[in-house]
Symmetry: D2
């Protein structure tokens, strides 16, 4: 998904964080490119491809430029992939970056952030630009060459002044705010 | 471990079986070479090497000749690697052979079969000959060439009459039976 | 090698081209990012890593943006890696991009382009920017993430007017031109 | 090819040997299992799969039990894959076992040993038992598990007294000898 008119990335709905001392918001990451790696700990493609790639991005780019965030988007086998199981998984697989547990769905098995981002499954890699907008989304595998190029391309873009940006994106005016 | 005076493989202490309609005993497998793959679902080396190798053995050799048995030997993160979590894991990773859950240790974290086989960790691959004796044990990785050769070598051995064998192994005489 | 004051890439000294109907000059590629892959057909690292990576770049980026050029820089076993042997190699390995045979060294085994670029061996990957200047040089292996990012970063740079550029680079003034 | 009535392996027709101080004959290897790896230095499947596998066999089994022999069976690009080119190749790829150059075909591009063994291309792996008979032949790839099992199985067979064997194979009787 390469949206020509990118929209602001929805806020992360996280019920518990690992590998970080305090909760993380996308707003606090403005100015950085964010790689959001949605996975399930029992998803073979996530374990063999998605997470190792996220670790490579985490160790290749400077922390001031690129933030890698894991998101545990459990949409099946909920009883198996509990937070305590995830914690053991993150420990055994030496996952170094912050990982949030996507908040359970209100009326179905799909958790809230996964739904807000319209993800089709796991792994799903979402690239958010320095201005907080979704720019690329890959379901399944994407090669390192393409990913490296997309990240670098986003790093080359200017950071827009946040106030102007929000105004423009969310369609607010002196009269009020339209739904973005 | 290549024992020159091989001992009878201890009975499997299993609290629950998956991928089989009835419990499996080593006695019932006499006449076949048995590959016992001890693993933990959150052990990276098991997921990337041990289990795929067990699947290759399962699909390469005839079922009448070689029996592949998985054994979930949880000795850490017990709360994460529950039977219900294992069930989801076996489903997602398409594990086709029978898998038993090693019975919890009586006075420690090491489960009973793991202890009886003196395993040092996971993955541990144990080869049991057609007469029920432990012949090879590999902790960590072993190459397919070596494994294929060991299996074929055991397949080339004759099956000894079970009665004679047990007599000899367990040290029974007309006077009675010593502990094996 | 990440030169802060990049110099113009020396002209390619090629005695024979493959996979192109006419000789290629770097001047004709101005405006594109050029990936120059120096290799030897009997260099294991070139065959297993360098050339497959060059093929991935060739198939990932648009031809109008990135030009991949192979350079056969034979500095040992000259009698084995002849042009006719290279031709068979390129055929069997299905190398799709243009490959030039680096012109033999005048007074030693190192061919001329290899010497002009101060390469230390094979494989050596050189990235030349859209203005014809050497920007990155990797001897041995470089990951796809880093390479993809470097290519995209160079693609994001403007093309300078060639006349100005040459003036500046070559150190010309109203008084005359110094050797670049 | 798993022949039920195995025939004696034809003698190797070699015009030059590398990695051995004296020519090798199959007769001198009686009592060992012989793995004959037919390859071409510019055959990608040979370089990426066949030769690495031959090296694993060479380093896994005892020299007294298994002999690995390479055979350079050039049936195309003869002008590129000359003995001097092969010598450089064997050096750069660190091939440790003896390699013979298959003698050029008399009336066509297929060399003589390749023709005598009815090989269909490269790589072709031929397993010769301890009594000098062809037992398995794999064109293309074969897995390490299967190969290890086949080698071990052949190692488990007895060595027949050579005289008897030849008599039996070649169909000799008191009346004379029929062509084998």
């Amino acid at each position: 998904m390469d949206t020509s008119s990118p929209s602001l990335a929805p806020a992360l709905q996280v019920e518990r964080w690992f590998n970080t001392s305090s909760p993380i918001t996308l707003d606090s990451l403005r100015g950085k490119v964010v790689m959001l790696e949605a996975f399930q700990m029992l998803c073979p493609g996530c374990v063999s491809h998605g997470l190792p790639q996220a670790q490579r991005v985490h160790s290749t780019f400077a922390r001031e430029q690129v933030a890698v965030i894991g998101l545990h988007t459990v949409f099946e086998h909920h009883e198996a992939m509990t937070p305590v199981a995830l914690q053991a998984f993150l420990h055994e697989y030496r996952i170094p970056f912050p990982v949030g547990v996507d908040r359970a769905g209100i009326d179905g098995p799909i958790p809230q952030t996964m739904q807000a981002y319209a993800m089709r499954g796991t792994p799903t890699l979402t690239l958010i630009d320095r201005n907080g907008r979704i720019r690329h989304q890959h379901f399944g595998q994407v090669g390192d060459l393409v990913l490296g190029a997309q990240i670098a391309s986003l790093l080359g873009e200017p950071v827009v002044d946040a106030k102007d940006e929000i105004t423009e994106q969310a369609g607010c005016s002196a009269d009020g705010c339209a739904i973005a």
